[in-house]
Amino acid sequence: MEPLSWFEILARIAQQLLPVWVALVLTYALSIRFKRRLGLYGKLFDSTVGMIGFGIVMFWLFVALFANFVVTHDSLSQVSGMRNAVPGSALRDPRDLYPYYLLGGDSLARDVFSRMVMGAREVLRIAPFAAMISFMIGITLGLPAGYFAGKLDTGLTFLANLVLAFPVILLFFLLVAPEIQETPIPRVMAGILFLVPILFVTVLLNARFFTQPAKRNLYVGIVLAVGAWAYLGLVFNADPVGLWSMSPNLLNVFVAVVFVNAPTVFRIVRGITLDIKTRDYVAAAQTRGEGPWYIMLWEILPNARGPLIVDFCLRIGYTTILLGTLGFFGLGVSPESPDWGSTINAGRRLLTVYPHPALVPALSLMSLVLGLNLLADGLREESLRD
């Protein structure tokens, strides 16, 4: 068969992405229709920049969600004769396979398009989750540091600065080395890092429903049960049901990324807390006799949400970049993993001759981060307006 022209390639990719388009159109139609009732999220649709950013982010999110319908080939299977095939090449012997490699083949004769799609799933499975854990840790430590100040603040700030003074790349080389995985270090760190979110939610609910013991016991009980379940699975890989699990490799990557991000979040939260705790409503809550954790979590934190949401978007982007860096140095999840960083690393050896295996993931990563940055920009603009 003839190889496809660029126009045909684009048309076929668009056709493969059909579920994504449908989902995107639905999201936009519903959001714009009800935007006045949706708070900050709805206001996002008043800003062009925010809308573009949101569109790009949702595009990748839907690609990751519908990856099974979008891919044309298995992301790991090799097809003979397709090594370094140029975009649009036809399979020699398609049989029941999709007859073309839409974006060409890589140096191991795998389909670049399918790997890009599965890579989106890989990246979006880790980055937002890692950013969220970093945020919970940063908030749990930053609020008391800013609110109580004193020795606690000095100590925590010193620790945060210690981690921040570490060049990121050095930290990665030290923490994500294969030898480290055999030691208990990643497990211990994961044990501490994953404990904080459970603690955070428990304290959050406890502070709120302190006066209604029945409700409090129910909510805290649920959180503790689910938390313990997830904790067992994620840290010890011992979930009886098998829903929560993380390979030692992935756990190591995850811990390293959270470890790099959390101190920055801590500094931001601490700074905002220092500012907000001088406000009148905090003084009013103190006079009412509210406990310190209630004030921190239910008076200060909601009022700090604007900058935190913006930074959350930026941080997902930054985490994506960090994951790519890990992949680029071959420290990624696993050698065959289709995540974008590893694919770029694999493609760079033949970059000057066959650029497409590296270019496709590079452009994908860039567009996702760009989308997140634009989204953050739009959110900042809109949250400043009120």
């Binding site: 003074a165 960083g341 650029p355 634009l374």
Partner: protein, 361 residues
């Protein structure tokens, strides 16, 4: 001011001690030492042989003692075997048996021996640091003016079309990490089959097969536009956006100040307001950011040097980490940590010095 400086330097030393100890502990873990023994003395060693090798080479003492030896506050280990030959840390480093029992750590200037490059760590690193210094210099020469110009032009008239366009450029640049921009630049400019180069060749505009080279190894002898442009651009692009955005924010803030309005009401021309009144105040924030950006550039330096195989500091760090070259990795970490801490200090001191409101109070 002096007290502030002393306190900062004290804190810096404590931080440096903590960090080097962490790095030391992580690089000297039993598993890594085992790998070292196997690469040095044969990969088919039994566990007992590995233990014996480690003991013979002074790796058996407790971690803290070895950290002290490496730092140079404790005397190096000494061993006299049955034949009467004296071995020891300092004997190997200084090449004389008399040195046994002396202190020889980084405080004395003994940085150790690199197993990857088979040379003293000090000579390896000093040569590589020179190469990276050159790269950094060009990066700063390209990045800083570009970022400041973009930031000032964008922040001069907030909300204008120029502002929107330049801000988008800045955002796009912060969304392009070095390994992405490097790949894009190579594919676009340094490939003989795709991108611009074949086009330019067919038009007869360039002599060689490619416009720029995708490999910067030759830049070690002779820096040319062709072999140095891409590594420099790769690093500069990512850092540029962030500095530009800070400059823009600082500039827009200054432009709303009362004294700018006064100047405008006096009838001073817009260009003069920007250059004479606004610029000096608007550049305080970017100064600190540029200084703090240098540790971030370190990341970029490692990525870019590996991608373009330019044998500088970043490439050495990568090689040391990949090849389990413990002493070299430790020394590189010390350099990296010192760079980070010193730039933090300069940025703090510089901020106080540049900002009269803080300096006088």
């Amino acid at each position: 001011m002096l007290l502030f400086l002393f306190r900062r330097i004290g804190l810096m030393l404590v931080t440096a001690l903590c960090l080097t100890f962490i790095v030391f502990a992580l690089t000297n873990m039993p598993a890594k030492l085992e790998t070292l023994a196997k690469t040095q003395a044969g990969s088919r060693m039994t566990d007992a042989e590995v233990d014996r090798w480690l003991e013979r080479n002074g790796y058996a003492s407790p971690m803290l003692v070895r950290y002290g030896e490496w730092l140079g506050v404790l005397p190096g280990w000494v061993r006299t075997d049955d034949g009467g030959t004296v071995t020891g840390r300092c004997v190997a480093l200084r090449d004389t048996p008399e040195a046994a029992g002396e202190r020889c750590g980084i405080l004395q200037g003994d940085w150790g021996f690199s197993t990857r490059f088979r040379a003293g760590v000090a000579e390896v690193l000093s040569a590589r640091l020179g190469a990276t210094g050159l790269l950094m210099m060009w990066v700063l020469i390209v990045m800083v003016p570009m970022a400041l110009i973009v930031g000032i032009l964008a922040g001069m008239r907030e909300g204008s079309r120029t502002d929107r366009a330049l801000s988008t450029v800045a955002i796009a640049s912060t969304a392009t990490p070095e390994y992405v921009s490097g790949v894009l630049l190579i594919a676009l400019l340094a490939s003989s089959t795709v991108g611009l180069s074949p086009l330019l060749v067919s038009w007869g505009w360039i002599d060689g097969p490619v416009l720029f080279q995708g490999n910067a190894r030759s830049a070690l002898e002779d820096i040319t536009l062709s072999n140095f442009t891409l590594p420099v651009l790769t690093i500069a692009l990512y850092g540029m956006g962030y500095v530009a955005r800070i400059t823009r924010a600082s500039m827009t803030e200054v432009m709303t100040q009362q004294y700018i309005r006064t100047a405008r009401l006096k009838g001073v021309s817009f260009g003069k307001i920007v250059v004479k009144h606004a610029l000096r105040n608007a550049l305080i924030a970017p100064f600190t950011v540029i200084m703090l950006q240098i540790p971030w550039l370190l990341n970029g330096v490692v990525i870019s040097e590996v991608l373009f195989s330019y044998p500088g500091f970043g490439w050495t760090l990568y090689e040391a980490a990949v090849n389990n070259d413990i002493e070299l990795l430790l020394a590189s970490s010390v350099v990296a940590v010192v760079v980070v801490l010193v730039t933090q200090l300069i940025s703090d001191v510089g901020y106080v010095y540049l900002n009269p409101r803080i300096r006088i109070s």
